[in-house]
Assembly symmetry: D3
Homo-oligomer: 293 residues x 6
């Protein structure tokens, strides 16, 4: 079940994620409802839209509580919470709610940045610390990070013992493995990193958190901190299809950090809407039989 | 012979293709006249510019007639009509004119969308139905669609018996063929789909219709309905070179759906202008000997 | 040592490179100081910022002298001059200064355009002639051009005897070599061209000149003359790493032709800033030991 | 009662009015609900939102019918139809519906352009002919045009005998009256023209049609055909207040020709939303007593 | 003495004031240093630039403390604190610092919005409550608000007994005074409101707080909550000159709420820079004699 | 007779005037051909378009020569040269050509900036010195400057003895005259300054040079150095009408400094096109009788 939260409180560079949920919804108008990848149509599936939460800028703690409550409500109704952000910190309360009901939850984190600092600008709650906090909720060994291409040694020092850090440095594969341990192995692209990571989540309940900046800025420029060298957009939905083929059912998901003001062409929101469509078409239960053509 | 038609009547999402022909012409200033791919220069070739037709928004039927007449005039003068759009519906009268003179005409359609609906919003003439109408002109078996990545089951139901539907789902090749028939085979990228499709047009007169949204929105964002997961721009002109290498001579062509207002960087029109340059350099007859350096 | 020069005098199509140095500096705020590729951090390295030179539009000769003086000052202080442009003509005085101190200097030129005309618009000093002038400074055999994808026969006529012309036509490799001599061999992508070119600079002092338009317009739209079919941004820094692995030490470098006004998303300057970070992290000497995490 | 119709079929220059209703609704979020001018608050008034009609581009006749039906439905429910456009042609069916119920209806037309041609580009139904058609519905003597600053002799030839043509040429008042008859009197600004016009509508049912381009492009740039020398935005709502003070009750109204794509600052939609707020606050009946503070 | 604080924490609609100080500084490059209005040049005056404070988004309380400390430091050095915002809440700590040293301080507030709510979205500290908090610091009778054109009854209920509320409704003067008391008198423009207000501050130390949205969106569109009907930009510096002519010396000032991302033309920052230039040229002490020409 | 010259060589802040002539021509499409102000239509008048000169960036001296030649050609054909710029330096050769044929030529200069420096950035030929050079051509006493609102003491020192300096400081009139001599009298708005200036040109041949930045940035933001506090656009054409009413015939004119890249709304070029329309409609001779309606 979709729910939106335009959280925009700790964005440190370019703000505007508060307009993300609206932009994603609007740009979905230009997309077909049928997914050739999933071979299913939104119109035949059981999903609902919870609408956007009212989050007031400056009221961080209250907003996080609001998101947690909404996720719990969706879960209680038997739905899978699918969050449209909003800044990445919105993931924390969503994961908290899902973890309460899904023991052994794994978090699969797709992002350009590791977000593993302990504090940032003096804050423990920040878009730059959110995955540190998430790892404290589910346990460091249950966080699997894929596609990271910007991180600092402090983050690697924290991540190296968990075994769930699959960073990407495009085309770097040849010389990547040599000093593993001292430095992480760098994968040449997102699919290679995902291939290495997916076995870790097999057979487990999984929460998928997708920061839109995991996608290359050429395809998704509308975000606060663009980082060159990212995944192709289609690698994201192919990755979701790979999860599905493994038989894994997701327990929750989010698509965050869309900041439409930095993309006058509007294609970032289109990419996010397409990710959402594939999430629903791949993982939602049937509502009625989809043999209609 | 170039001719432009800024048709912009049935665009259902974001309008503005009326400014396409002008933008393509203007951005050609930044391009060299020499094509390294074709190893020929525009200055040595025989082609002319018919200018832009005056199409009045709201007078769809008259505008289609205008385009048909212009294409006929060019053909009567011995030229190859090369249309700058305008919305995709402009292709219909151009194909009608070419088909009158080229029996057995094949239409090679490169696009993100199948445009095969029977009606759209209650209209039989629409950018979303144009290829259905085109297939009625040349015969369903003479329409070959390459690179489609957004379509609905109704369109597949129509296309499946013609054998000319070569859709793309990037990176999806591995699991594509399994239920062929029930669902179309999905090709992993534009060149793979084109390789499979080209044998169908060998030895036949060919009209090539290129919707700029066949190119990925990262390279061509200035279009009405951007769809992620598209071809690289160079795959388009490499595809044209592949047609040329087969010995196929094109009987007509178009580049449509450029809407410059959605691309403040101007690179969509540059991509379109480059496609036009390669079309001319690959297929135009010599005017004088091109050994000059 | 960084120095900027917003030269913007002979830009023939879309101006605005004068704002390049400022934009690159500002967008570096959103980047981490640690380079996963180089596994070094800016904070541990010895480099300084010389600031931006005051170049007055319209005073071309004086501005070129100013750049030459600044490069000499940096060299005299034992630094490696790293220029932020500005239009490409700024490379000429920088190379002049470096060549005075580095006998046998090779210039490694990464660009979409060959810039090898003898005159352009009647001018011997122009962004379109700069590499002709550079080749006269270092000797035609010491100019190595990689990634060029737009050029005219006059340029090939000049370049063909130097053996340093490695143009790219994406995906064209299959049929490229056939008429070598008559026409240059076309490489299918930037890494392939670079692989072929690098042996020429082994063991020599090298100046690397990077026109941002060598990168594809999808990743770096903010430039005066965008040309489709370019390198991926990461291929640039992987190329720098390849130079480093060969044991080559650069004697000078530049990143030019960033025109931020044509990229409202700001990612062109981010790409340039990332190139600068990798240049520094790969080639700057240590200031203190970088074992800190 | 609000209803939107993003009609965008006959726009002859820059299209995009289809996104007008949405943009006006969204930008109303930044406005207070209290009107200091009317000293009433939206929250205390009786009005409703009928939502946006689905108008399919290219189906002009059907879309006009849709608008006519919606206006009739609102009128039958006792509401005052307040249309958000959409191109100006949308006014025609709205006036038709209101005229059916309000004998002697006057149309008060505020615009930069007279829209009085008999045909435009061969079409009788066009944004450039709409007021000719409207005058045929209500009778030429019942159309009062205020603020027009772009017109052609053909339009004056039609308008001169009706006495309802109050064009503006800013600051032109001094020499305006001399050849009245031969040429129309030109008023120096919108309020002066309105002062002269309002007596004509006193005691009559009035439909107010506001083309946003009556406002100066400096305040409302987001429209298809910007014309310099327009009214200040506040002169529009002061004009509405003047109508109210005369005791006139409006029978219908519209705000049309907002094309948000041409205004990246978003203020055109804010101006339109403010006009709508004042329309409602000035003319809507009380729902409950507004003494609350 | 200039100091900047890109506070951007409680902005409720469109964020981005964090980039205000930088944009104002950059656009000052295009302005002359000589003020024809003040007939003095920046180069002859004693003023300094304290630089921009590092305010981390999400750390509101710490950021306010940082601003308060900076203002105190400037005051202790004998300077007049001139703050570049940032959101309007930044005014609160600046006024606190100035009020400590200037007994009887009046705050002269120029804005489109009254900012007098007691709480907003549940927060006592917000851009929408800042003047309520300021009035609690200096005393309700010492707050004088000029140019307000958007407010709610709750704000008037608070302001009406202080006598310092001078709202504007453009051109509304004629019928404004009638129900004074029940509703505030509405002034027809900013100069008229200022004329009425200035006697209240004569002979008193004055802090001037200028929200850039007091200026009309046509001249200053780059702000979070544009409100039509504002002052002309020159009325702001003429207003400052009027203060100067009264012999009033300002004790502190700020220019806030510039959000450059919403103004691609850059003129909002130019207007703000011009206001800053006039503030300095009108109120700074001489450093050396300004007879130079 | 229209002629364009996209000179863009010495622009010191934001470049792009090279695209001015094209933008003005394109935006004229949205304007009617009839001028209500002049009561004449372009279609009935004798004027021609000479097209745009090819001016190569970086070849300043050659470009100035080119403009001079074009102006002479037009004059020899009996036409009135009407230049579309391009940067303001383009005025110099145009005035030189006109002065050769019109003894006693007055130059009427409307601008935000005085452009009277002797050198700028070390250059004698610059957009910031052009009126100094022009005054040397026609004699200092024959230059009349109206609407200037940004100038430095050096410029006043030069201008004060010529009696042709009519600067504007909006609303400053009350206290302007007191120290005339020491400082120039400041006029409260453009019409007041023009009223004072026009008697100086009565009975003389006049060249009118209009820098688009004389208009307020709210109406004409697309220019290199926007300066707040400018004229309303209509005051420009009313000023032209005032010249016409005096019986003065212009001997040449220009509209310069339109830089369309800084105005995504396109209205700056519309304002310039409107100025051009009024110039032609007011001053061009009849071609045939304009009684047609």
């Amino acid at each position: 079940m979709l729910y939106g939260a335009g959280l925009d409180d700790t964005t440190s560079f370019r703000p505007g994620t508060r307009f993300g949920p609206g932009a994603i919804r609007e740009s979905s108008v230009g997309l077909e409802e049928f997914s050739p990848l999933a071979r299913r149509s939104l119109t035949t599936l059981g999903f609902a839209d919870f609408g956007d939460l009212e989050v007031v800028p400056g009221r961080l703690v209250e907003s996080l509580g609001e998101i947690r409550r909404a996720a719990r409500t969706i879960l209680e109704a038997g739905g899978i919470p699918l969050l449209l952000g909003g800044e990445h910190l919105a993931t924390l309360p969503a994961v908290q709610a899902v973890a309460e009901r899904a023991p052994g939850l794994m978090v699969l984190h797709w992002d350009a940045h590791a977000d593993l600092r302990d504090t940032f600008g003096g804050m423990a709650l920040s878009h730059a610390t959110v995955m540190r906090r998430v790892s404290e909720v589910v346990g460091p060994g249950n966080l699997v990070q894929v596609g990271i291409r910007s991180w600092v040694p402090e983050e690697w020092a924290y991540a190296r013992h968990s075994g769930g850090f699959f960073p990407v440095e495009p085309a770097a594969a040849a010389d990547a493995g040599e000093d593993e341990g001292e430095w992480p192995r760098l994968y040449p692209n997102f699919p290679a990193a995902l291939d290495a990571a997916l076995p870790l989540v097999a057979g487990r309940p999984v929460y998928v958190s997708i920061d839109i900046d995991v996608v290359d800025p050429s395809e998704a420029p509308g975000t606060g901190v663009p980082e060159p060298g990212g995944a192709r957009a289609y690698e994201i939905w192919q990755g979701l299809a790979a999860i599905r083929r493994m038989g894994v059912q997701i327990a929750g998901a989010d698509v965050v950090e869309v900041a439409p003001a930095y993309d006058p062409t509007g294609r970032t929101a289109v990419v996010a809407a397409r990710i959402v469509r594939e999430l629903v078409c791949l993982f939602a239960p049937f509502r009625r039989h989809d043999t209609e053509r």
